[in-house]
């Protein structure tokens, strides 16, 4: 019963978020600002994590394929497919749920407890739309670029690990990442990324928007936003995979 009440509240909030904006020009400016805050500021962490994960995937695959029957270029192929299919969309999505989700929930939660949201409402502004809509659109527009960056950097990380440790030759790795390449995997990953971006921003904003109390509750809302975003990302991963790959 509590779940349905919560879900209903979430839908009502979304209906307010997607209602007609007061001034489109202002919203456009807000979207650009949010792209910087939520997107550009996440590039660093995405690059750092992707390069290490790419390297680790390559080394682990090499470790598990200790057989003279299996050609070494398959390590490159495995690393590429793992990065394209799952890591760069879902793993990066989960990381962004932690970074961006907590940021959104705490920012909006702080605005709620310091009456800044009430002040917006009192001015005759649809606070839900003004605060949340630009974040959702900014993340849905920019996160696919983060995924593409993650893909490129992850594959480069795998090559770096292969060459530096001597796990396999540069030629084998490069041949492997080109072998049996399916471009649809990128489409699949980008579709997932856009859905995850919506989940992260809307769920975290929902928990921040309805905070009641003080700083402690803002912290709790931030945690809830991250936890529920992460769960929903995994659920969406399952559904989209079944719909697009099965």
């Amino acid at each position: 019963m509590k779940f349905f009440a919560l879900f209903g509240r979430y839908i009502i909030l979304l209906s307010r978020v997607f209602s007609k904006p007061e001034k489109s020009r202002i919203y456009l400016r807000q979207i650009i600002k949010e792209i910087e805050i939520l997107g550009l500021n996440s590039i660093g962490i995405v690059i750092l994590i992707s390069i290490f994960i790419g390297a680790v995937i390559t080394l682990q695959t090499r470790y598990n394929l200790e057989s003279s029957w299996i050609p070494l270029y398959l390590i490159g192929l495995t690393a590429r497919d793992t990065i394209l299919l799952e890591f760069s969309s879902t793993m990066v999505g989960l990381i962004l749920a932690g970074k961006v989700g907590s940021n959104i929930a705490s920012e909006i939660g702080h605005m709620r407890i310091t009456e800044q949201i009430d002040a917006l409402e009192m001015m005759g502004i649809n606070s839900a739309s003004y605060l949340i809509f630009p974040k959702i659109i900014a993340a849905m527009l920019f996160n696919p670029f983060l995924t593409l960056i993650s893909m490129g950097v992850g594959i480069f990380g795998g090559w770096l690990a292969a060459v530096v440790t001597g796990a396999l030759s540069s030629a084998d790795y490069i041949y492997g990442i080109q072998y049996l390449f399916v471009p649809f995997y990128i489409t699949y990953a980008l579709v997932k990324t856009v859905v995850y971006a919506f989940i992260i921003t809307s769920v975290s904003a929902f928990y921040g928007y309805y905070v009641q109390g003080g700083a402690l509750e803002v912290g709790r809302a931030s945690t809830r936003g991250v936890v529920y975003s992460s769960i929903l990302i995994l659920l969406a991963d399952l559904v989209i995979t079944q719909l697009m790959l099965a």
């Binding site: 007061e22 202002i26 009430d118 409402e121 009192m122």
Partner: protein, 256 residues
């Protein structure tokens, strides 16, 4: 003028406001007073629509706010300025951007026109050279004054102030009180101030409404408040030892 007629408000079955009817007059500073938890903040939030009332009507001049639809409420709110207890300035915006915000959202003024209007409002609240500062760099009193400037930037017809003196020293509180009173008379607007500060009552309270345990306990002027005979109101007005001594002095019962 704002007329509140028989409003009721409850939260989770607990009645917070019961059958409150009151009129707030135009061109006057109308004060809502009462103990903490008496329901005065809920009353103010019901009047401005931040809480929905269970029953009753609220008229802004001849418009019944309760029965207005979403769009008409939004339009009416543009005629309202509000000063929140914690000032509620937007942390990420400078003072100038904060005051300019309603103009940016609702007018087609040019940047120069907006800046000129902002400077007029900041000058009116006696603030200078703060345009580029952020709220975090201001004192409590300065934040309140910026919030007042933001509240009046669109020439409101109604001004609501929730605990304008909370967290301020007595001298700064006096400055804010005087500012609210001056603006009320200058712009001839209906001002409603929520307070439990008796200094404010005696300083600017042209009409005073006392809320006790969710009901209207008393209504009158600041001149009448000291001799009402209402036990609950007297308990509130003479709560401090200082006030008790003054009362004893004036009535000739002082023993020390």
């Amino acid at each position: 003028m704002i007329t509140v007629k028989n409003i009721y408000k409850s939260f989770n079955g607990a009645m917070v406001l019961e059958d409150i009817s009151v009129t707030f007059e135009k061109g006057k500073t109308n004060l809502i007073i009462g103990r903490s938890g008496s329901g005065k903040t809920v009353l103010m939030k019901c009047i401005v629509g931040l809480h929905e009332v269970d029953k009753g009507s609220i008229f802004f001049d001849d418009r019944d706010f309760v029965s207005l639809d979403f769009m008409n409420r939004k339009n009416l709110r543009r005629e309202i300025g509000m000063l929140f207890q914690g000032s509620a300035l937007f942390d990420s915006l400078t003072v100038e951007e904060n005051v300019m915000f309603p103009l940016t959202m609702f007018t087609e003024m040019t940047p120069d026109e907006k800046r000129e209007r902002v400077n007029i409002c900041l000058k009116r609240v006696n603030l200078a050279d703060v345009n580029k500062l952020y709220p975090g760099e201001l004192s409590g009193g300065m934040k309140k004054r910026v919030a007042i400037a933001r509240a009046i930037v669109q020439n409101p017809k109604y001004l609501f102030c929730d605990e304008p003196n909370s967290g301020l020293d007595p001298k700064t509180a006096l400055v804010i009180d005087d500012l609210i009173s001056e603006i009320t008379h200058e712009y001839n607007i209906t001002t409603v101030v929520n307070t439990h500060d008796m200094n404010s009552v005696m300083e600017i309270g042209e009409k005073v409404v006392f809320i006790h345990e969710g009901r209207k306990g008393w209504e009158g002027t600041r001149e009448e408040i000291l001799d009402t005979g209402d036990e609950n109101l007297n308990d509130f007005v003479f709560a401090s030892n200082f006030a008790k001594k003054i009362k004893a002095l004036t009535s000739g019962n002082i023993t020390e």
